[in-house]
Amino acid sequence: MDDQTNIRWPDTIYDHFKRAGVRQVGYVPDAGHSRLIQLICRDPEIADVVLTTEEEGIGLVAGAHLGGQRAALLMQSSGVGNCINMFSLIRNCGFPCLVLVTMRGEFAEFNPWQVPMGSITEPVLRLAGFLTYRIDRIEDVDDVVAAGCDMAFDGDQAVAIVLGQRLIGRKRWTK
């Protein structure tokens, strides 16, 4: 699978953010999310908040909701591990939360250091109280992201959309 043939799926996610009225997006820079990050940074109606670590984003989402705005987080599977204690904020207060997780360490992974966290990402999210929806095929992006936005923002749930490594494509290690 090639990155270039799938370049439109981040645009689909962006369209759903706009439809749902997302006004803040927190992210740690990530190759899988690079196109979506670019779209968000170009949008003057969305505050793009680059984080030093993913757990900061959980506080951001909580603060945004308290102030009446919808927020989403973009992170890589490794970042889920950085959030675990901070997830208690979401569960204890019942904040809606939408997280889009790009997977590493699960399919055609060349870097063994990605595997320990990648292999437990989904169970960890579920243990922390998230509903998880997995996408491996580009034709599912539109429907699943739409459903995730509705579940999070209308259904007041913590929702993680897990973007599989088969969707994202192999990381190109050489420039």
Partner: protein, 199 residues
């Protein structure tokens, strides 16, 4: 014992300081870091615009940032402890990048972890949160040691150009616990009703 116990004697009493900072608070939003900061803010007078934390250590400043971005017309104060802010040191960089003009962080710095047995924190060992905030491009960062400067800091909460960090050197004398509700849903819903953001 740490090699660098360089801290000057603290002068401020935390309960009185927080009470004085919140005089005539009007519609000031206050996010409280877990532990003594939450007790201090509650003791100054329970208020629906207080968002009390009982956990999520290291998250107070980022909750403040999310609020400050969502409500640019409102003033947001984060009142937290040195240990709580040290756990969220990266957040100071994130806030420095976003430059929210309406956000002020007040660190109640007793250089110790009061909830866990008064172990020394990094600020007792020479870490300077004011210097960190300056290095993170905060619009202003200052140390508060003298009660006569409290009124000036109170004014900063309401009109100072943020982001600002105030490191208040407080005594590490123990204060009685003053416990607001621990029900996160109740705290959230009451806060949102008061700020006008319930759907």
């Amino acid at each position: 014992m740490n090699a660098r116990q360089t801290k000057a004697p603290a002068m401020l009493e935390r309960r009185q300081l927080v009470k004085d900072l919140l005089i005539d608070r009007d519609d000031l939003i206050v996010v409280c870091g877990l532990g003594s900061a939450t007790y201090d803010v509650a003791a100054a007078g329970d208020h629906p615009l207080n968002f009390y934390l009982w956990g999520a250590m290291g998250g107070a400043a980022m909750i403040g940032l999310g609020l400050a971005l969502a409500r640019p017309e409102r003033r947001v104060a984060v009142i937290t402890g040195d240990g709580e802010q040290l756990m969220g040191l990266g957040a100071l960089g994130t806030i420095g990048v976003k430059q929210p003009g309406n956000l002020v962080i007040v660190v109640l710095d007793n250089a110790h972890y009061g909830e866990t047995g008064m172990q020394a924190s990094h600020t007792a060992g020479g870490v300077d949160l004011v210097a960190v905030a300056k290095a993170c491009s905060f619009a202003d960062a200052l140390t508060l040691t003298d009660a006569k400067d409290i009124a000036r800091v109170r004014k900063l909460l309401h009109v100072g150009k943020g982001p600002i960090l105030v490191n208040a050197r407080i005594s590490n004398a123990e204060t009685p616990r003053f416990l607001p509700t621990r029900d996160g849903h109740a705290i959230k819903t009451r806060f949102m009703a008061a700020v006008g953001s319930l759907a």
